[in-house]
């Protein structure tokens, strides 16, 4: 299932949280060789984790961490602007209706639907909170994964080549994309909305009009 947790709620799910930060170290440091900090507990954390971001985590049947990503509003400190600002054509992405996602991470043992489920959470967040877009930073390997799960971003800019390429991309909200991602992940929208509502409110959550 998908869990939506702000950083200050992670303590309620200690195993998930520890696994997430360790899997991030495994993915970004060990496998991708990114210049990231790993602490003595083997956890990869950065300064954006201190800003009380919202995490979405895929929890496996056995309670373990399958994968996750991190949301932050682009109106505050955000990686797309601070770290990768030179990739977006000279204008920072700054709007209350655009959030960034970073640290999209998959554990080595993630079940096959994990990437799709996490992507679907992006759709739920956009729809539930009236966002027009999500902006993301991702590595070359993800381009293929995004295509497979049925939600390719519009790439705003890239740096590096081949395996070391890092890009900033943009996902506009689209019902059709949500439906396709849900179908490929094998997760009914009703279920995914249920998980969203479990985190953000039980009763008739407003759905936003489709146009901005």
């Amino acid at each position: 299932m998908l869990r939506y947790l702000y950083a200050d709620e992670l303590h309620k799910h200690p195993r998930l949280a520890e696994d997430m930060f360790r899997d991030r170290a495994d993915q970004f440091k060990t496998r991708l060789g990114w210049d990231v900090q790993v602490n003595e507990k083997g956890e990869e954390r950065d300064r954006y984790d201190d800003l009380n971001p919202l995490y979405v985590i895929w929890e496996e049947e056995d309670g373990g961490h399958g994968g996750s990503m991190r949301f932050l509003p682009t109106t505050g400190p955000a990686m797309v602007n601070d770290v990768f600002g030179h990739l977006t054509g000279g204008a920072p992405i700054c709007s209350p209706l655009i959030w960034e996602v970073t640290r999209f991470c998959l554990s080595r043992t993630a079940s096959p639907c994990t990437a799709g489920a996490i992507m679907l959470s992006g759709g739920e967040v956009m729809e539930g909170f009236g966002l027009t877009h999500i902006a993301g930073v991702f590595d070359a390997r993800m381009v293929r994964i995004y295509r497979l799960i049925g939600s390719s971003p519009e790439i705003l800019g890239s740096q590096g080549v081949g395996r070391d390429q890092v890009s900033v991309g943009l996902w506009p909200f689209s019902q059709a994309d949500c439906a396709r991602v849900a179908e490929r992940a094998g997760i009914p929208r009703e279920l995914s909305r249920l998980w969203f509502n479990a985190a953000f409110g039980k009763s008739g959550r407003p759905r936003f009009a489709r146009s901005a």
Binding site: Y6, D8, N52, L54, L72, P73, T75, G76, T88, G89, G90, A91, P92, I93, C94, S95, P96, L97, I98, V125, G128, F129, G130, T132, H133, A135, E154, L156, L170, P172, F200, G201, K202, S203, G204, R205, P206, R207, F208, A209, A212
Partner: protein, 239 residues
Amino acid sequence: MGTKVDLNPVLEELDGTSSLEDLERIAIAIRNKLEIDHIIYHWVDGAGDQYGCTTYSGAWEERYRERNYHRIDPVIIGCFQRFHPVDWKTLDWSGKVSKAFLQDALLHGVGNQGYSIPIRGPNGQFALFTVNHSCDDETWQEFTKTYGRDLILIAHFFNRKALEFESGRQPEQSRMLSPRELDAMTLLALGYSRAQVAHSLSISEHTLRVYIESARFKLGALNTTHAIATAMSRGLIVV
């Protein structure tokens, strides 16, 4: 309520404000336009100082302060450290203290429905922009569906203004349009289609959308047409 009203003229006024009293006047104007009971803008900064404006009765304001209700108010508790908009219905009103607080609020003319937008400003500043009304759930859902995005933008415009007053500083440098944004807005003002603008700037239409979105936010506008008009009236773009 009913058909969607045009809030852009009020936002133009908001842009020209220079004091907290002006902000209060704008809050009343927006409330009247939207035909809802109340609008509240409330800020707490890193030092714990509070500040804001409200259309609630003076009696409620006083009582809220006197009883230190901010410590138990489910809206404050539910929105603090968050950045997603919150419908009051999704908050936890079940405790004894919360129930008593709600009763007291309703007695003082606070509506049963609310939609609050938390905003994170610089240096630990936190603000909450709330619309409040008395109506049934269905009517409220329709209202938030229609105006949700506008309200999120307005909340941020309010906070930006308040930050300007607080520091006595000029509109932030970050509100200046970047060269690419200026180019995009100028071409749109000339009547180019989005496809033509994207082509002229050698960018994708999606990238163009981000430029427009950012420019719109900087200009304090709810839609592109209004953003172009504002940019022209401020002399930022010349066509």
